[in-house]
Symmetry: C2
Subunit: 509 residues, 2 copies
């Protein structure tokens, strides 16, 4: 199969999607594997994206009444054991600190020494250590609610890792709240789910479905787990964020008790919710193309790069000065409350290579400015969401005055494109044979490529859930919140028993 | 000894300074000890202060050309061993991960399992793991300089911990740069020292001395270490930040090599520099008083709290609405590039208790507004840097239009006060007996309270440095950068041998 045109990323998506993903990360200089198994180095361009994600979400958390705090990295083993389902869920993937110094061994090499009385686990999540703290803070209903979020690193010893999607150490935020009533905790759980959906769609330009996880897919120790799920370009699902209603499970494990308004002693109702650097993997697999990353403008580390095009050494100073002037004007433009981030790329390198480096990084807009543009008062504009053939010249003043609108248009294009992809590969399926065919690879060379999301009926039976997983590596991604409300009962696609409404089946990361 | 007046913090500074420090942290709700040895919980009011420190410094790092990135939490033991002095310096205080899961032991209790082939050290600092990465990134002089900073948690297994000042886990930033020439790395080292000084004095209102550490006090593996040192209210010194010229030591250990302009293969020249949550301890011991914390306005989590004073339930709605209106107007005021952060405290609690809670937290300005103020169009103003007796009424409009200036005045007062303290307790001392007397406790009940900073001559001898430390628990805090330039030779205060200039001697945290 001959390729239509040379692309910056090899292989292209059609050829080998997983390898294309790794190559995009490399070409965009977002991250790389480190010498430590499963841990990545997040490079400046990737980390700046994470900082923007953090700032965007943090603003939404604060608007919904939350404050930030910081809790210890280490969790005593005995704390983790307090909630039975919780420790079962994490015991297999814990980094365990057993010693607190190093000393020379018999052969002169350093070995661990100073064994701890009780091993410490590097937090895989912080329900138990935060719960122990809340137990001290809460005495009366007047001390509730507690609405706290933490930005932190966590460690889960995953066997198979993939940059951003599943790494041993990752960065995340974890909200932990405690409430007086079940109702309040329930409302909080769904409020934060909605915050995640809004963030994913508005900032990340990544459409998501929201719903509840099946009992088998719940967070260890949770009563209910809710999630946002997105479709990647290979039609697989990515769980991008979760919000847990923990009931009184962790409050009982950590003894978070309060004197109620009636004078009785009650356990608090708690929630937790989190998103991680996995979101970056989701953005790559939603927006990047065969030439590299495409950054949604709302989160892009930089919005515009200006490439000075000087044909002769004499031109250079004039062109650079002009570019700096355009950059300065662009930096006065406000884009969603912040000034545009503009780079003038002065690197001494081949112009083609320079331009491609920014295409691969996915900056939303590339401006080329040369002597003729200066004379004509124009700039040459390349929108990263379109092809190089679509580049156009425009009066510089007009570009500046419409830059914010242009970025919003790019943002909308990316969202609409992702939404269209999801719509194209989502089908109502009521028949088992069709269901099997839908999840059968469509491309021999890419065994993972398949139909997409199947909206099918399910009897709520764990056996049927297990069968689709074992036969087809398909899971129920979520049970829509309004399932049943639409009055669409049907028959389980697996066993034919009655179902109250469709659920989302997909292969997933 | 009868106390002059009741204070919010007991004991007061004069009675027991170390205990006063702990009580301020507690009363201001900034942090507390956790169940994990030496690890603290940073509570929302303390963490918001850290976020402001982070944002302020981050802006200065970016202005000086740095970008952020993120490197792994874990360091393979073999990496740490690459630099001999470095591993010697940290081996005694390393948290070591030896296992990657937990499983039920013979008695059913969980025990560590899945032993790692090579133990991993939880980073005490990241020179070695970052060095290994830079070695991959650097091939040619064109790849230099690398100017990267990381915001992260680090762990040092300290035997004696104290909140913020010395904790097992702490938050910090660590800059790691690599350069083509010694000169460039040297300039970077001193540039970042200057950034720290500017930040400490401008944002933290904490005057600092800058200088070089003696060879014995250098960072393990550094060629030169520079520091900022501040005087606390008990006249002890606090090392608040360090900047290290690492020469080619770590470049050789990590094999960071590049092809030079001349075509030869050279080792890069590197630097590292860091400040941590210790800065918060420094701010407390610089500004807090016997009624609690005093936040410098440039870093205060909130600038103004409004206390609605309603005498009757009927007043309440009117007073609250009026307070909200004043708050809204105040939030339109820009203070150093950001809108004022204003709280209306609606908590249903005793007015006195409410007011004291904010005094203890150290918010710069407390406004009281009641029905009579509303009628008169005034507010009642309490500046936290003055006493309650100094409170005054003022037309609300005037308060709002001068609020930014008022905060700047408070900031200046705090700085001037700290500077005056340092001046009062810094003395040129040329005589050994006077030197001994200066560092002898001035107060029997507080064995730590002593003279302050002695500016004395030193022969550069390690023996004299050691004697001072062993006899008096005094260390050389820094050798002023301009030592000798002032042409003030003298005789070593310990041994009488020639000295090129005075150095700073003090007891230290």
């Amino acid at each position: 199969m001959a390729k239509a045109a040379k692309t910056a990323i090899e292989p292209i998506r059609e050829e080998n999607y997983p390898e294309w993903y790794q190559q995009v990360i490399k070409a965009a200089e977002m991250a790389e594997n480190s010498a430590v198994r499963g841990c990545m180095v997040i490079k400046p361009w990737g980390y700046a994206l994470w900082e923007n994600i953090r700032d965007g979400l943090d603003g939404m958390f604060k608007e919904t009444g939350h404050v930030n705090a910081y809790f210890p990295l280490f969790i005593p083993l005995s704390f983790l054991e307090k909630e039975a389902a919780h420790v079962d869920g994490f015991a297999k993937e814990c980094a365990v600190v057993t010693h607190h110094r190093l000393q020379a061994g018999p052969d002169g090499k350093l070995v661990p020494a100073g064994e701890l009385e009780e091993p410490l686990v590097v937090r895989p999540t912080s329900e138990t250590i935060i719960g122990a703290t809340y137990a001290k803070w809460v005495q009366s209903y007047r001390d509730l609610p507690i609405l706290i979020n933490q930005w932190a690193n966590v460690v889960r010893w995953e066997m198979r890792t993939r940059m951003f999607l599943r790494t041993t150490e990752f960065l995340w935020q974890e909200g932990h709240t405690a409430h007086e009533t079940s109702q309040e905790a329930w409302e909080e759980t769904l409020r934060m789910l909605e915050v995640y959906k809004t963030f994913a769609e508005t900032y990340m330009a990544m459409p998501v479905l929201t719903g509840e996880k099946t009992p088998g897919e719940r967070f260890p120790g949770a009563v209910n787990t809710f999630c946002i799920e997105a479709m990647m370009q290979d039609r697989k699902a990515l769980q991008a964020g979760t919000s847990h209603f923990l009931g009184q499970n962790f409050a009982k494990a950590s003894e978070i008790q309060f004197q109620s308004r009636e004078g009785t002693l009650e356990h608090a109702w708690t929630t937790s919710w989190g998103v991680s650097t996995r979101l970056i993997g989701g953005m790559i697999m939603t927006h990047a193309d065969d030439n590299g990353m495409i950054m949604p403008p709302r989160l892009a580390p930089s919005h515009v790069v200006i490439l000075p095009i000087a044909r002769t050494p004499e031109d250079e100073a004039t062109v650079l000065a002009h570019c700096d002037q355009i950059a300065a004007q662009l930096r006065t433009v406000q884009y969603h409350g912040r000034p545009l981030n503009v780079v003038v790329d002065r690197r001494d390198m081949n112009a083609g290579e320079k331009g491609w480096s920014w295409i691969k990084k996915g900056i939303p807009v590339i401006l080329e400015i040369g002597p003729r543009d200066i004379a004509a008062g124009t700039v040459f504009v390349f929108r990263r969401d379109r092809t190089r053939q679509d580049r156009y010249g425009q009066p510089a003043a007009e570009f500046i005055s419409t830059a914010a609108g242009l970025l919003d248009d790019i943002q909308k294009t990316l969202f609409d494109r992702a939404l269209a992809l999801r719509a194209a590969y989502t089908r109502d399926i009521d028949d088992w044979d069709q269901f099997v065919a839908f999840f059968t690879p469509v491309n021999k060379e890419q065994p993972e490529m398949h139909g997409g999301f199947a909206m099918s009926h399910w009897c709520d039976g764990a056996d049927c859930e297990k069968k689709v997983n074992e036969d087809l590596s398909v899971t129920i991604r979520c049970i829509p919140l309004d399932r049943g409300a639409k009055g669409q009962p049907g028959a389980c696609v697996v066993c034919g028993k009655p179902s109250t409404g469709r659920v989302v089946f997909a292969k997933a990361y």
